[in-house]
């Protein structure tokens, strides 16, 4: 009889250990995916930051007196490059979007500028980058949602805490910027 009890206890321990390993690895995988998602956002944000100086130069050539728009964009770019936490990055992202919107609105007033090929190329590049930032953000937020759900639901939550799997922040840009994304339609 004691051997039966031992076998049952042994089997239970094996099952628990197996569950522990699987759950732990699942949490690690999702956490890494979220990390990868954040780097993917970073890459696209960097790409946009790299476009900004050229864009500012191009507009300056035709509208040198629109100082305020240039300063806003340049300041937003600096904030974006200095941001370290996810929240700061998202805030700087929203700021950059609305500043770029202002800059492109200025450009709209100069038909000769819109006829310059290098400017339309920059605009197309910017529009593509905006789409890619949005795509990277969707991926990140989807992963974070899965991670948070898993990490908070029973029984995974029993080990999530002790092993240091805290909830993760969503990448949220400010509402007004979200509702009114930069319009960079290319008019041929």
């Amino acid at each position: 009889m004691s051997t039966t009890v031992l076998i049952i206890i042994g089997a239970a321990i094996v099952v628990v250990l197996l569950w522990l390993v699987l759950t732990y690895n699942g949490l690690v995988r999702l956490r890494n995916e979220a990390q990868q998602g954040e780097s993917s956002i970073d890459i696209q944000l960097k790409r946009r930051a790299d476009l900004i100086p050229n864009l500012v130069e191009a507009v300056k050539g035709y509208a040198a007196h629109e100082q305020e728009a240039f300063e806003r964009v340049t300041a937003a770019r600096t904030h974006a490059l200095e941001a370290r936490t996810l929240g700061d990055k998202a805030a700087a992202d929203g700021e950059t979007r609305s500043a770029l919107g202002g800059l492109l609105a200025v450009a709209e007033a100069y038909p000769q500028l819109r006829a310059v090929e290098s400017f339309t190329l920059l605009q197309a590049e910017l529009s593509d980058t905006e789409d890619k930032i949005a795509a990277a953000r969707r991926y990140y937020n989807n992963v974070v949602q899965r991670y948070n759900t898993k990490q908070q639901s029973f029984p995974a939550n029993v080990i999530a805490g002790p092993f240091g799997f805290g909830p993760r922040e969503f990448y949220r840009i400010e509402d007004d910027a979200e509702r009114d994304p930069v319009k960079v339609e290319i008019t041929a």
Partner: protein
Amino acid sequence: MTLQEQIRSARMRTVLVLFLFVVLVALVVAAVYVFFGQGFGLIMALVAVGYGIFAYVAAGSIVASASGARPVSKEEAPELYRTVENAAIAAGLAKTPDIYIIDDAAPNAFAAGRTPEKAYVAATTGILALLDRRELEGVMAHEIAHVRNRDVRLMTLAAVMVGVISMIADMLLWATVFGGGRNSNNQNPIGAIIAIAAIILAPIGGALLQMALSRRREYLADATAAELTGDPEGLARALYKLAVDQHPLQHVNRATAHLWIESPLRDHHGLRSSVGGLFDTHPPLQERIDRLQEMGGFQLPPIPAGGAEA
């Protein structure tokens, strides 16, 4: 159903179909055992496994050449490139799949390659001409969804399993006709009848399961695509245009049918399969559009009766 519910439901149904697949294989194995006993059954199992591995390996890279696809550069097709890149980013793929174009006026697209690293997507010139950017985004997201969900590998495996089942069934049938089975004299007749029935029905059952699996994965890819673009309506509009379009696709065969965004085998003259689409690789386009409408909360006009059936 909401998007997440649809994804969950498609996953559950995939598991169900795979389970039935395993049951089918077990039945075939049991039939072999009843007929020939352990010795011959083992030899047959080895042959079947060998054939399966060979078929799986050989199925690797025939798709692109078989459908007349050619690789395309970013300069040649910037919009196609961008939509694929964006969908790949949204899906979290480590690299953007290679992109091919097929010179064919019929609008269609497919994804192939067994791992996300080796994956590629192809679009016909017809679909590039037919769809606007938003619709193309939906379609390419559907293809990227197939890549992320590992559908190519799953469907290749399913095709190989059906092939193996058919091969075993053929061998058994052949053995029954010409040899009467080695051990048949000491088997009970009811067992033998069940075994024969299993042999005849197994390949059909396998094909049915394969098609059911393919349709489940199409629904899942639609739902995943909606998640990737955040725009179910774009894909729904594309499917609507595909439903109304009347060009037949040229480079088509049954073996690669499950790869396409919509069934390349559909009949343009209104002749429908009498078994209610059980052998179709794709669900009806109207049903796919309906599900996208459910998750997106929008409404497109129904596909006109003259439109083709998927």
